[in-house]
């Protein structure tokens, strides 16, 4: 144990995100945070071996049609067909290759195929709303799906979630694990949504909005949206025994 420290176990550290990048856990506008946010202060966790490593989840996690949510049933789902693509990057702009991307979403009318979702909007028997893929060598990913609808959720009077796709990514380190939501440009529901608006910094908030991408639309077939996901970047390497001081 000591020998390893003395021989200079060099560990990278990951930059902590600037204040305002992530939502405060206590966000009263989003009522469910009320009983679920910790009240004690978080304790700073140094970046050691468990934090700088993380699960590397490869192609073994994928089924054949996992990246095309319109082809998972014999018939196609209802709705506007779209291509959602982008890159998984770290905070220094470096692509994160070969990394698992998972998504889930509502159908075109805004209903999830989940037992708890029973608002009066039809379930689409041809749409599960679940996708997975792996980034390529340049960190790119791509899904074919349909544009999800907005849905009501009872958080406040006449509350509607803006259309969104849930994204889950891992990067290469425990510190980089991220679950977020991708939104669509110019959604009129942003102004009343406490989840979107829980992100304090406006620029950070806007990074969750995808960009309409005319260049990637497919004529007579599909619209396209681009959504890059940026994970934390590394600091220059430090010796572990310096970090401890």
């Amino acid at each position: 144990m000591t020998a390893l420290s003395e021989s200079g176990l060099i560990l990278p550290r990951y930059r902590r995100d600037p204040e305002g990048t992530h939502p405060p856990l206590d966000s009263p506008g989003y009522k469910s945070t009320g009983l679920r946010h910790p009240k004690q202060p978080l304790v700073l966790l140094p970046h050691k071996l468990t934090e700088i490593t993380g699960p590397l989840l490869g192609p073994g996690r994928l089924g054949e049609l996992d990246n095309d949510l319109t082809k998972q049933h014999p018939e196609e789902p209802q709705g506007q067909r779209i291509i959602v693509h982008g890159r998984l990057l770290d905070g220094d702009g470096r692509p994160v290759p070969n990394s698992l991307v998972e998504i889930w979403q509502a159908n075109a009318g805004g209903r999830y195929k989940h037992v708890w979702d029973n608002w009066p909007c039809p379930v689409d028997p041809h749409f599960d709303g679940v996708g997975r893929t792996i980034t390529d060598n340049e960190g790119r990913y791509e899904f074919t799906t349909i544009k999800p609808g907005a849905y009501p959720w009872k958080n406040h009077d006449n509350a509607w979630r803006p259309a969104h796709i849930h994204f889950s990514v891992f990067g290469t380190a425990f510190t980089q694990r991220l679950v977020t939501q991708m939104y669509f440009p110019d959604d009129p529901l942003f102004s009343q949504d406490p989840i979107f608006n829980s992100v304090p910094d406006e620029k950070a908030r806007n990074r969750m909005i995808s960009r309409f991408d005319l260049s990637r639309t497919v004529p007579e077939w599909a619209l396209a949206f681009e959504f890059d996901i940026v994970l934390r970047g590394r600091e220059a390497s430090v010796f572990e025994n310096e970090e401890d001081e």
Binding site: L25, G34, G54, V199, A204
Partner: protein
């Protein structure tokens, strides 16, 4: 500039669980233990729409990862994932990790749920490692009266580790 975190929402069970998520090691693996627990909210009510993820070294304290400066040890997934049941319960089948340089054996845990706009992170330590736990720098940085929230309890088939998101006995969560 990082992309912000957002909640998994109530329907995470559509997209995140895997059939083999809870089994970091296969049933029957020598030394395999179940780590089970309940996730509670601030009213003491079990959280039925949460997800636990675990990340850990193997029994020798090694990671199958290129950034482990000691060299990757191939073969151990190290990652577990289990949604909570209607009663807020989760279970992960794994092996107790070995010690790491300067750290007691531990498992990193991420908790996701509706109502959590960002994951919360905690650590599982093991009750039999009294001396190693006493020397662990991360535990040492935690107020003494709250340290026991990070130490699992022995159970019939492994360990129990409950997560209390808020209030009495609140689990210690870390700023990663």
């Amino acid at each position: 500039m990082s992309t912000p975190s957002q909640t998994v929402g109530p329907y995470l069970a559509l997209g995140l669980p895997w059939a083999d998520g809870p089994t970091v090691v296969e049933e029957g693996t020598p030394g395999a233990v179940w780590i089970r627990g309940v996730v509670y909210d601030g009213a003491g009510t079990p959280v039925p729409d949460g997800l636990i993820e675990t990340w850990q070294a193997d029994a020798h304290g090694r990671f199958d990862h290129p950034d482990d400066p000691r060299g990757a040890q191939p073969g151990f997934r190290g990652f577990g994932r289990c949604p909570t049941t209607d009663d807020g319960e989760y279970g992960i089948l794994t092996v107790v990790p070995g010690a790491l340089p300067g750290e007691a054996p531990h498992i990193n845990v991420s908790v996701f749920a509706r109502g959590l706009l960002h994951r919360v992170v905690t650590r599982i330590y093991f009750p039999e490692n009294t001396a190693a736990n006493a020397a662990d720098p991360v535990l040492a940085a935690v107020p003494a009266e709250r340290r026991d929230t990070l130490v699992a309890r022995k159970s019939e088939d492994g360990y129990t580790f409950d997560v209390r998101l808020q209030g009495e006995g609140e689990t210690v969560f870390f700023d990663v």
